[in-house]
Amino acid sequence: MTTPSLPAERTTPVVLGGARAALWLFGTVLFSVALYYFIGVDQGATSVFGDNMYVHEFVHDARHFLGFPCH
């Protein structure tokens, strides 16, 4: 790609730059999915921090309201 600065108003260029970029994207997906899991699933069907209900009970209302199965 040698196109000098495509005007952003017209169209979007491919913006991925190599392995470092891929690593950042992968890390972000991992982080986001982990957050999603702790808010939506943990200590319901499965549990990471042992057999207590602290995470589940704390975000309980959000879990219901965001559409996750609960109780």
Binding site: S5, L25, F31, Y36, I39, F58, G67
Partner: protein, 278 residues
């Protein structure tokens, strides 16, 4: 450039989560409280029935957090962190979509990716397994319900990505308009078939064994041994409002992500020459 997108996506997500939380605090919390009140009333009626029948009465479990904490702080933290997570996934999808989905300008692309996230991560799974307030959902089926819900989310994401890919392929033979319509139709057919194949929650084995055949786990009227109704079924209006507000909150969250990210992405793309990804 991807790092700038990720930071901005998560920021937009946090903002969306905050707005969705304020919406939830005003509209959803009263419905959640009504559902919890229904649950307590029903439990009390059930223990009376159990006592009359000479059965052991189930002890109330104690909750580690008060309702005030759950309904203010807990739901706030939960919604904002959910927004951050969705913003992160959104940023990854946006970065990958740049330059790969036809002639779309940066701002409309942000709205399209947000629409995709709303559909695949929430609305399509909701059509099969809608959000439920407290008091709806049997303890014995939480594993299966979680598995089915996450399966539905996974299928929706795969079908959406497949649909975008198919749309790009079809553009070689059709106009962009027709290619998009055909790809959307293919997605709808696949998703419809999957929804037909997956079981309704009421038809899970544990539920059929205990309650007979029903479509959902929504509590029916509680009856005494003579068949008289001693406690009503779950209030329909509470359920309808809760679900409507749930959809509205997610729509608000994703719309905020798209609208807030759009101008930020445009500025990032304009600053950096194409191909010079940092």
């Amino acid at each position: 450039m991807e790092r700038q997108f990720i930071a901005r996506g998560m920021l937009a997500g946090a903002l969306g989560g905050l707005l969705a939380f304020l919406f939830a605090r005003i509209f959803a919390e009263p419905q959640i409280q009504r559902a919890i009140d229904y649950e307590s009333g029903r439990d009390a009626a059930q223990s009376l029935l159990d006592k009359a029948a000479g059965l052991p009465v189930e002890a109330e479990g104690s909750d580690p957090f008060s309702r005030a904490v759950q309904g203010n702080l807990g739901i706030g933290v939960g919604m904002i962190l959910f927004g951050v997570a969705m913003g992160g996934l959104f940023a990854v999808a946006y970065t990958l979509a740049c330059g790969r989905v036809g002639n779309v300008r940066p701002r409309p692309l942000a709205l399209l990716v947000a629409l995709g996230g709303f559909l695949a991560l929430y609305l399509v799974p909701f059509l099969k397994y809608p959000a439920n307030p407290p008091a709806i959902g049997h303890e014995d089926t939480i594993r299966e319900r979680s598995g089915l819900y996450l399966l539905m989310v996974g299928v929706s994401v795969v079908v959406l990505v497949g649909g975008v890919w198919l749309g790009q392929r079809l553009r070689a033979r059709f106009t962009a308009w027709n290619a998009a319509l055909l790809a959307a139709l293919a997605c709808a057919v696949v998703l419809g078939a999957v929804m037909l194949l997956l079981p309704s929650l009421g038809e899970l084995k544990a539920n059929v064994d205990q309650y007979g055949h029903h479509a959902t786990e929504t509590p029916l009227p509680l009856k005494d041994p003579q068949g008289r109704i001693v406690f009503p079924g779950f209030p329909a209006d509470v359920l309808a409002s809760f679900r409507l507000y749930s959809v509205a909150a997610q729509a608000l969250l994703w719309a905020t992500i798209g609208v807030a990210f759009a101008p930020l992405a445009e500025r990032v793309l304009r600053r950096a020459p194409a191909g010079a990804a940092a």
